[in-house]
Symmetry: C2
């Protein structure tokens, strides 16, 4: 059965796309069949796999509105065993269009159910907002991963994210579970990081992944080469951290 | 006349709120009467001035929907001469509500016109999205400031921001000008920063502020103390950079 993971946090710039790109790649590297879905009109996930804007013809917009099947729009990536549903420019209009559509929260869930995909994992990258697109991802997901930057503004938003998750569970998707919170861009030099990390572990307990993603310049260089950091520099601390995160995800999945 | 500045970039986490908080404070520090408006449901601007969620009763939601005047909802901050229209929890529903409202793009512009404010500057913090709230800010603004992180994903989004600005000029606000692009979180140690900065200056020319905001841990510590960095640590590199940015803004305004 295909496990659907949504990577969600309405706070901007916390490492959602970076986590979706590199976790998916690490899962594919250990033999899983993986699909990634770009649900952010910015289209950074598609860029992270080196797919230029010109090369994107049909994608997540068509599976939300034109009843395309996932296998009709998914394209291969530079990573063997990993396909992508890209974000095209049309997706920018999806938010307003969804507001008045019937079953507007279920469009993505129905698209995933409609298709005879044989993936082990489908990973959805979400925009920085608790909007209709993110709601679609949460309704379609089995569980969610929350990238969290150890910064004060980022912590502030967690409670409204949890309220939204609770709302989605009650009204649209009772099986939605929190797979875990992953601390990103962790910088040992920054005194705030240490103090905030202890707070987060107190608040979330064992929902916080043991793996912490360090701030690593190779991670931010990789997208300009159109590659995940695992392909760009496998020996980097960033690549190793995402490999560790992938093995933690697999272990947690086995427990569910 | 009150100059309305919108701080906009749909890319998340690039320093929009940090720029709004600290630029506004620096302008107030040199004697300008300043209003800040929190148009992001995350409410980080309100937090940056130490206004707790419990202390926020009426705010930007009421000026968009309940015809309140700005002077009815603006409250003072820890900074002398600086008032704020806060973001309350209701703002989270504003996006969907605006879609079907008459004159939906002009609500904020009309609120500013309706009020007898005599501020020198009104600075609007926007959410990380080119949505109805951001459209309201662009329609109400005389000019916009674009905080730009020197990172690959952040650069990618600039062209769609510019397209949106062009669209707003043609359809809603012909006077909308680009005040400038400010490079944020600049880290000399990061080889990417240097290379990307040259690209940005080539693309934008003299629309890029001379002032570059360095990555500075005191900036990210300040919100947890409910203060702008200028109050938290005036001698820090971050505080000094925002003072310099304020003097550049005043100079650019004089030229308009
Ligand atoms: N561990 C890391 N070390 C260094 N840079 C990182 C790291 N993780 C992410 N980055 C960089 O930080 C920026 C923000 O990350 P990213 O775009 O993945 O966040 P996001 O949450 O997807 O943003 P948005 O809210 O705009 O969708 C990017 O430029 C990315 O390359
Ligand atoms: N120059 C800087 N040096 C160090 N940290 C910074 C700097 N500027 C911003 N930050 C920190 O980086 C994070 C992102 O900044 P901020 O929240 O202002 O961005 P934003 O664009 O408003 O994000 P969003 O898209 O979520 O609204 C915050 O935790 C902030 O404290
Ligand atoms: Mg992203
Ligand atoms: Mg912000």
């Amino acid at each position: 059965k295909c496990r659907v993971l949504a990577v969600v946090n309405q706070k901007g710039g916390v490492g959602k796309t970076t986590t979706a790109v590199n976790l998916a790649t690490a899962l594919a590297a250990v033999g899983m069949r993986v699909l990634v879905i770009d649900l952010d009109p910015q289209g950074n996930l598609s860029t992270g796999f080196g797919i230029s804007r010109a090369a994107r013809s049909v994608g997540s917009y068509e599976i939300l509105f034109a009843e395309h099947r996932i296998e009709d729009v998914a394209v291969p990536t530079v990573v063997p065993g990993l396909s992508i549903v890209t974000a095209t420019a049309d997706l920018a209009g999806a938010e307003i269009q969804l507001v008045t559509e019937p079953r507007r929260e279920y469009r993505l869930a129905e698209a995933i159910a409609r298709s005879a995909v044989n993936y082990d994992y489908a990973i959805i990258d979400c925009p920085p907002s608790l909007n209709m697109l993110t709601l679609n991802a949460l309704t379609a997901a089995d569980s969610l991963i929350v990238p969290l930057q150890v910064e004060f503004y980022a912590l502030e938003g967690v409670s409204s994210l949890m309220q939204t998750v609770q709302l989605v569970r009650e009204r649209f998707n009772p099986r939605l579970a929190i797979m875990g919170v992953v601390l990103t861009m962790f910088d040992r030099r920054n005194s705030l990081s240490q103090a905030v990390t202890e707070d987060v572990r107190k608040f979330f307990g064992d929902q916080v992944f043991t793996t912490v993603i360090p701030r690593n310049v190779r991670i931010s260089e990789a997208p300009s080469h159109g590659k995940p950091v695992l392909l760009y520099d496998l020996k980097s601390s960033g690549a190793r951290a995402y490999m560790m995160l992938a093995s933690e995800v697999i272990k947690r999945e086995a427990l569910v």
